[in-house]
């Protein structure tokens, strides 16, 4: 199947009808068309954004609640993924969406099949996504889906249903007389419905489980999970061949490490930090990279461009206003070799630029960890970058030991350990402290989390509860309770100290290279 110019009339043949005939699919057939490398990357990144949203919303909301659904709806349409089947399912745009859904799923399989952690994360989000989409279908669409996918779930005849009515009602708390009358019941082999059998939540007769239509999603999800699990194992095996394509390797690496979450550019706490708090904050709540930069700035009253960008944007994320930032940098620089005039001429401009007040007025976002690590490695005289990536282990060890950690900062040190330990395994996106659903991959996030733990001014104070949760994607318990779980789970999970860890670090990462040529997917999948 070849698609050159999008404007050409679409050739909808039997194959595409099968693949894209329904807005939802099991992804059992791999794509075979040719696409451009840029489309390859775009598709993948957008699906990743979607899955990250699924993850974040899943932590903050009950997965079937209205708020969850509404927010996921919004993300869906904004990212152009196939939406509810009520919309017209014909025409290029819906078709394009389904194609994107199909191809992007397979690309992410490549990126997420390699380790147990990555697979688990991917399967979990894809399942949540599937559940959401299946539940959005109307009854007819659900049936169509089952039919299209040869799911051997026979409908129970009305007669049998009536005969078994009492037993069906008595088998499940959720089933009433009305349910039996109104809904279809499906006969599913018990091996496909083990969770329902195990807990005896369903009627079982002669090896078949009698599932009401409203529960069929559980069965379908089990099926989906099994298929996906098997598929990922297979993908992992064929991955070396795929990775030998030089154009793909950096892309795929980049994907499984890509940060697509909160960008910390909109801060509720703007103006809530005063400049004289910065010193204390740097000791208590800065991640190591920023602490390093701050110290360097204080000591030499200067930072080079890379350092100014990294630290400057971080401060913006922390909540400094443009005026505060200008004051901060000027006060520091004039203690050194730069006088006030020179500062205003040479450096103020770039600070204003950072805040989107100059040039093309891009409001730059604070760098994520990945960006800090991957782009612009520091050279002699630089203090930016990631200490764990760019610093010699011995030196790093000394640094960690020299940074005196106050009692309140102990938990932060531990979180440092966690954060950098995860970097060791190169699984940024999936840093999870399971008990608290905490995920760490951005310096400003680190700052906010630590401020929360300490109850400091940098924490997002008050505000609308919902919005706050949405920004941070942290679990619901109160600060105190969460502090306990966070700290204790940190302690339990990682008994390695910073210095020990530093001593054993080795990291190599290639900088991604991309070309824009056409990629035949049939060679990939």
């Amino acid at each position: 199947m070849q698609f050159g110019n999008r404007r050409k009339k679409l050739i909808v043949n039997a194959q595409t009808e099968q693949l894209y005939g329904h807005c939802l699919q099991f992804y059992s057939q791999s794509p075979t068309e040719n696409i451009s490398l840029s489309e390859f990357e775009t598709f993948a990144v957008e699906r990743l954004k979607l899955l990250k949203t699924v993850e974040n919303l899943g932590v903050s909301y009950v997965k079937t609640s209205e708020q969850y659904t509404k927010k996921l709806d919004t993300e869906f349409s904004s990212l152009n993924f196939p939406f509810r089947s009520e919309k017209s399912s014909s025409g290029p745009s819906e078709y394009e969406k389904r194609r994107k859904d199909h191809i992007s799923h397979f690309i992410l399989r490549l990126a997420y099949c390699q380790t147990e952690d990555l697979r688990r994360w991917f399967i979990q989000q894809e399942i949540d996504l599937f559940r959401y989409r299946f539940n959005c279908l109307n009854s007819k669409s659900k049936r169509e889906f089952l039919h299209l996918n040869n799911l051997r779930y026979d409908t129970v005849s009305v007669m049998e249903k009536t005969n078994l009515a009492e037993k069906l009602i008595n088998s499940s708390f959720a089933v009433s007389g009305i349910t039996v009358e109104d809904q279809d019941f499906y006969k599913v082999p018990f091996q496909d419905a083990l969770d329902l059998v195990r807990t005896r939540k369903v009627y079982l007769k002669e090896g078949f489980v009698y599932v009401p239509h409203m529960e069929i999603v559980t069965i379908v999800l089990n099926d989906f999970r099994t298929r996906l699990s098997k598929a990922l194992a297979l993908t992992a095996r064929s991955l070396p061949a795929v990775q030998s394509d030089e154009r793909l390797q950096p892309l795929l690496n980049h994907l499984s490490h890509a940060y697509v979450g909160q960008d910390y550019s909109i801060q509720k706490s703007i103006g809530k930090i005063s400049l004289d708090q910065i010193e204390t904050l740097s000791a208590k709540s800065y991640p190591l990279c920023m602490r390093q930069l701050h110290r360097a700035l204080r000591e030499s009253h200067h930072l080079r461009h890379g350092g100014r960008m990294q630290y400057g944007l971080f401060l913006k994320g922390v909540g400094l206003t443009l005026d505060q930032a200008l004051q901060f940098w000027r006060s520091e620089f004039v203690k050194g070799k730069v006088d006030a005039d020179k500062f205003d001429k040479a450096y103020a401009y770039s600070i204003r630029h950072m805040f989107g007040k100059e040039g093309k007025r891009t409001d730059y976002t604070p760098y994520s960890c990945m960006k800090v690590i991957l782009s612009n490695p520091p050279s002699q005289g630089d203090h930016h970058g990631c200490p764990f990536r760019h610093t010699d282990p011995e030196l790093l060890k000394q640094k960690l030991q020299s940074y005196k950690v106050s009692p309140g900062g102990m938990s932060l040190m531990l979180s440092l350990v966690v954060f950098y330990f995860s970097y060791q395994t190169k699984c940024f996106c999936s840093v999870q402290i399971e008990d608290s659903g905490f995920s760490l991959n951005h310096p400003n996030q680190y700052f906010l989390e630590s401020q929360k733990l300490l109850g400091g001014p940098g924490a997002v104070a008050g505000g609308k509860g919902d919005v706050k949760r949405e920004d941070i994607a942290t679990p619901k318990p109160s600060n105190v309770a969460r502090k306990n779980t966070l700290v204790s789970s940190l302690r339990n999970r990682h008994q390695v100290t910073g210095p020990q860890l530093a001593a054993s670090l080795t990291c190599t990462l290639k900088t991604p290279v991309s070309t824009s040529t056409v990629l035949p997917l049939s060679n990939v999948f």
Partner: protein, 429 residues
């Protein structure tokens, strides 16, 4: 007329070394055994890849035994004279060559779904015996277990070939031999076992059965079986509402207010059946007045009678379980199939011991027994086979082998039926 005197065949573990060779040479039903585990030869190497384990004299335990043919199995067993035989899974390769297989490739693929009910697990609710002892008073627990589980396996799960076997000492085993059962995954076996479990909790748990609305049809069916046996077994046999100690234990399972009232009533009412009647009535009353379901009388019945199975035995595909027709070294009893048509009459103390059947072998032929018909075409080997076939028939083992035969016949019929169905679907003629 020859008057037959049956010498008292007392079993002594010390005589096993003498009895076992006799048992394995002349009585063990090898051809039925092979017929069973070969499953009609439908799957290639199914018998060859089956693991057996033997416990030999002096507790020497050998695993990963496997055999290519029935004849090889016979020869080996006659050579080793195992005290105990266990059956394991059908593996991906011959178990006796598992060391030659690349690490990770040697996998357990299939095995019958099995259940093991052990009387020891009921010690907290039986007053007549404890540990490895059993007696006619507590044996009904096994009867109840078989009835409940067999019904569920057949009617709920659709399994049709369940072989129930007396373990030889204190319990029963079930071998579910359907093809679907043999192919079940670990997760599926575990789910089946959980579905069948109602009594939960160990030493620390007083109330081991908790029922909530709605009462699942499976529980209802199981209760019907328990109710059938409850009066005779529990109220009369076990006397659970007789002595103060026993009654207090039962009352520990009812709500406080009911307990208080019953204690008062029991001061004057001493008859166990009437006591139970009062308890049941109070439960029913509670249900009509209070909104939440109060099922304590049902919970008590289940706690005292419902089968307690060990989920771990059922879960593992590679789990080894004592083989039917194996000897139990401690009691000498043969692990024989149980006839479900005569279930209520089954008496574990009447199950033949190895010493009994070996003695029966030596008995002179009765008048009227079939004369040895010499067939000129028959060679020594075949004559030997025939004699051997007739050998077990002269002993108390006969009826159990016959039962096993019927079980195997049922499976063969089923297989044939399946083949016909399949070929019909494919329109092969």
């Amino acid at each position: 007329m020859i008057t037959l005197e049956m010498p008292a065949a007392v079993y002594d573990q010390a005589s096993l070394p003498d009895l076992l060779p006799l048992y394995y040479r002349r009585l063990f039903p090898f051809s039925q055994y092979y017929r069973w585990l070969n499953y009609g030869g439908v799957t290639k190497n199914y018998f060859q890849n089956r693991e057996f384990s033997f416990t030999l004299k002096d507790d020497i335990y050998v695993r990963y035994q496997s055999f290519s043919t029935q004849s090889e199995l016979e020869k080996e067993m006659q050579k080793m004279n195992p005290y105990k035989i266990d059956i394991g899974a059908v593996y991906s390769h011959r178990p006796n060559q598992h060391n030659t297989v690349k690490s990770g490739c040697f996998q357990a693929l299939e095995k019958e779904l099995v259940f093991d009910i052990d009387m020891t697990d009921y010690d907290d609710v039986r007053s007549c015996c404890s540990a490895a002892d059993i007696c006619p008073k507590c044996w009904p627990l096994m009867t109840i277990a078989i009835r409940i589980l067999d019904r569920a396996l057949r009617e709920d799960f659709g399994f049709r070939h369940c072989l129930w076997v007396y373990s030889g000492r204190r319990g029963i085993h079930c071998w579910v031999c359907d093809e679907a059962a043999r192919k079940l995954s670990v997760a599926a076996r575990s789910a089946v076992a959980e579905y069948l479990s109602l009594v939960k909790g160990g030493e620390e748990t007083v109330r081991k059965v908790v029922l909530t609305d709605p009462i699942h049809p499976f529980i209802r069916e199981s209760l019907a079986v328990v109710e059938h046996y409850f009066t005779q077994y529990a109220l009369l046999g076990q006397d659970i509402l007789g002595s103060k100690e026993a009654t207090d234990k039962v009352l520990g399972l009812v709500p406080e207010d009911v307990k208080k009232e019953l204690l008062i009533e029991f001061k004057t009412e001493k008859n166990p059946e009437r006591r139970w009647g009062r308890l049941t009535t109070m439960a029913q009353n509670k249900r009509t007045t209070v909104k939440k379901g109060h099922y304590f009388e049902k919970e008590i019945m289940l706690q005292y009678c419902y089968p307690r199975l060990d989920v771990n035995v059922s879960k593992g595909v590679n789990h080894l379980l004592k083989s039917p027709f194996s000897v139990h070294p401690k009691t000498g009893r043969i692990s024989v199939p149980i006839d479900l048509r005569e279930l209520d009459r089954f008496n574990p103390f009447e199950v033949p011991t190895i010493s009994l059947i070996c003695e029966e072998l030596d008995l002179p032929k009765m008048a009227g027994e079939e004369e040895d018909q010499e067939d000129p075409k028959e060679n020594d080997k075949e004559a030997g086979e025939r004699r051997k076939i007739r050998d077990y028939k002269r002993t108390s083992l006969a009826k159990y082998v016959k039962l096993f035969d019927q079980f195997l016949e049922e499976m063969a019929r089923s297989r044939k039926g399946e083949l016909i169905k399949k070929s019909d679907l494919q329109k092969d003629f």
